[in-house]
Symmetry: C3
Amino acid sequence: MKKKIRLNKILELLKQKKLKKDLFINNITNLKDAKKGDLSLCINFKYIEELKKTKASACITSKKFLKYVPTNCIPLISKEPEIDYINVLQIFYKDFIFDNISIEVLKKNQIKKKFKNIFFGQNFICDKNTKIDKNCKIGHNVVINKNCSIGKDVIIGSNVILSNCIIESNVVIGDGSIIGKKGFGFKFLNGKLMRIPHIGKVVIKQNSEIGSLCNIDRGSLSDTVIGEYTFLDNQIQIAHNVKIGNYCMIAAQVGISGSSIIGDNVSIGGQSGISGHLKIGNNVKIGGKSGVVKNIEDNKTVMGYPAIDFREFIKKNLTK
Amino acid sequence: MKKKIRLNKILELLKQKKLKKDLFINNITNLKDAKKGDLSLCINFKYIEELKKTKASACITSKKFLKYVPTNCIPLISKEPEIDYINVLQIFYKDFIFDNISIEVLKKNQIKKKFKNIFFGQNFICDKNTKIDKNCKIGHNVVINKNCSIGKDVIIGSNVILSNCIIESNVVIGDGSIIGKKGFGFKFLNGKLMRIPHIGKVVIKQNSEIGSLCNIDRGSLSDTVIGEYTFLDNQIQIAHNVKIGNYCMIAAQVGISGSSIIGDNVSIGGQSGISGHLKIGNNVKIGGKSGVVKNIEDNKTVMGYPAIDFREFIKKNLTK
Amino acid sequence: MKKKIRLNKILELLKQKKLKKDLFINNITNLKDAKKGDLSLCINFKYIEELKKTKASACITSKKFLKYVPTNCIPLISKEPEIDYINVLQIFYKDFIFDNISIEVLKKNQIKKKFKNIFFGQNFICDKNTKIDKNCKIGHNVVINKNCSIGKDVIIGSNVILSNCIIESNVVIGDGSIIGKKGFGFKFLNGKLMRIPHIGKVVIKQNSEIGSLCNIDRGSLSDTVIGEYTFLDNQIQIAHNVKIGNYCMIAAQVGISGSSIIGDNVSIGGQSGISGHLKIGNNVKIGGKSGVVKNIEDNKTVMGYPAIDFREFIKKNLTK
């Protein structure tokens, strides 16, 4: 999956001048998480401070950001930095552009031999590198694709499809849920469709429960995370990079858009939607069918579309 | 599944003093439906009248309700009646805490032999105690778990999962729908997660039609019911204990929260949501994307979020 | 599926007087698309102009429309034209009343032999007349029912169910999506349930992508169409006869009701709903969770429930 690549090979691909002293690029990450040997991207002034402090060894960016690139980082100046970046991502993570199903699945007798103290139903289709801890119960027609690991005492319903995920112990996953597929990420740049590889995972922490017919998409660069003791009802859509805290309760048909962060002990009423890139504080309560379009501070109760303070919502709508 | 238990064994578990004259508890139900030999619960003044008249032989409750307990009923006074109640439910209905898949499924040749005048597709996975009447058509990859009975002339799509349900004659169920799984029921009591066993069923009455990718959860104590000649479109969520009348039409992506009761001849527009514990009258029309938060009388037409009288909605929103 | 029927046989069925000079009816279509030999219906003054110009050889209608029926078209005057029409549809298209699964599926070795340069997963269930072009990748537990054809380089996720559809080249379909089942179409006429056969298909044009757990229902008379380079996220409901243009982006949990037409380059935010029989222009942007209840002109941006001009929505809701 991941492989070291010479920076000069990347420069060649981007049709840029090669370096005299070549180096290996280990990985591609965001500016903040990048380590020595990593390649990153900066195309937004919002991330200037992170650019200044980045430990990345190289960064694709445009001319105007050049002066903020620290000395440990080789700037790769590009006229189309986003296109170049996606192109490089696609080289590193070719397998993550589409959701390829597992080709190397275990045979029936291999499953029986490998998973001795696990109960599994009929027609269990399981990638050969899957790790499953003891006492799990796995339903009928379950598909486990590549890059999955499952903790102990986990219950997985029938027709569930898992890929690229870490399911911790004591988690319950309802029938027909689909976890770890790629997010809704692509760009039309200069009229050309660019598919963004999604290289993050889904992490479902211990003691959580996912309902039936839910989608939890894997992250693009970082992971999508569901915290401990967090309960999701049915038909919920969790987009890529979303992080949900512990002890949350999310009712049916809720949708959370990409990269939003939900605190601990948050309850969200049925059919509510939360826009992308928002921050919802701890102990927040969101009434049913709300449309949240901005950040919410800790301990607030909101409702409405767009969501406003709950008492205001009541005053405005339910009194005369 | 259900079994008689000595009341003294329950008292022992609840760390209460045993009775001199023991008796058998047959079942656990609500105050209203309880018969001689049943155990019930009262923790809410709303149910005082039902408590006074209950036929239950014993009732877990708190001190303040003691004076309303009738003489035929042994009061089990508890400081934490809800916790004690869930604990007792969990003893009686251990199998209903999680959605365990059927382990005892029929083999291919057993299916052929048992269901002679039924058409079934490939990879049909069926619990050995399932009853299916004549002339049914069952799609591919269908899973029928425990406690299901299916009337005649029923059509079941592919990838459908059934558990704990009674499907009457002439019903149609669309591809990928999941019927009879446990509802979204749990409590955090004194910081401890308590999972409530869901011991009701789903009943789908004759001539009704369920769309594709729908969820109909089974009831907690009572059943979830879909009436006769009632049509559900796709991606609909029906929570536990909901009762829907006859001749209703429910458009796609509607969600109905737990324990709400819908009358006859009700039409509900797409993406509408109905809060829990509401009563919607007969011949009610609910416009698309409405959010219903209070009871609606017979023959009303409503729309909006929150839903209001339809003419008022039009006046407020669509005229200038 | 389709078969010629003598008009006198239809008249006999409708208990009408037979013609002296009988003719063959080839097909049933709307007034506009009807050719010589076809039968059509007119029950609505909205379609008078189309009636006047129709090429249909016969038309079921009521007395008041008689004078508009052109000379090439035999009027079949009925007191209950809609009931008669559905009855005739049901004779022609008996197989399209319910979603019958494919009975004649290929055996494992037949699949291997027929689809040589296609990758397919475990438990692939495929109707024997299916056409699949080269380089396709098909997931696990996929069901392909009758009347499907699939272009080259198509990727189909696991648990997908296809029926009555044309999938063009380079299309991606996410896990668990259900494409081509019948729409939500029935009538209660004079207290009798009439199921309307859905005889259209779903056409997904090249380079488009459908997310996971989506429904796209086939058309009633015409097709349901998804244009080129159009991207749908997860849990989307597209009803019968909807036509979506090219280069559209539709976020998760959106629902589009029957017969609506969406232009090119339209973006629709998550959880939005669009009522039936609407026309949404080109380059329209619809904000998240909007409820669209009327036509939208080209280049407009709208939001709200009901959806209004975006600046007006902001002024009304997000400023003080």
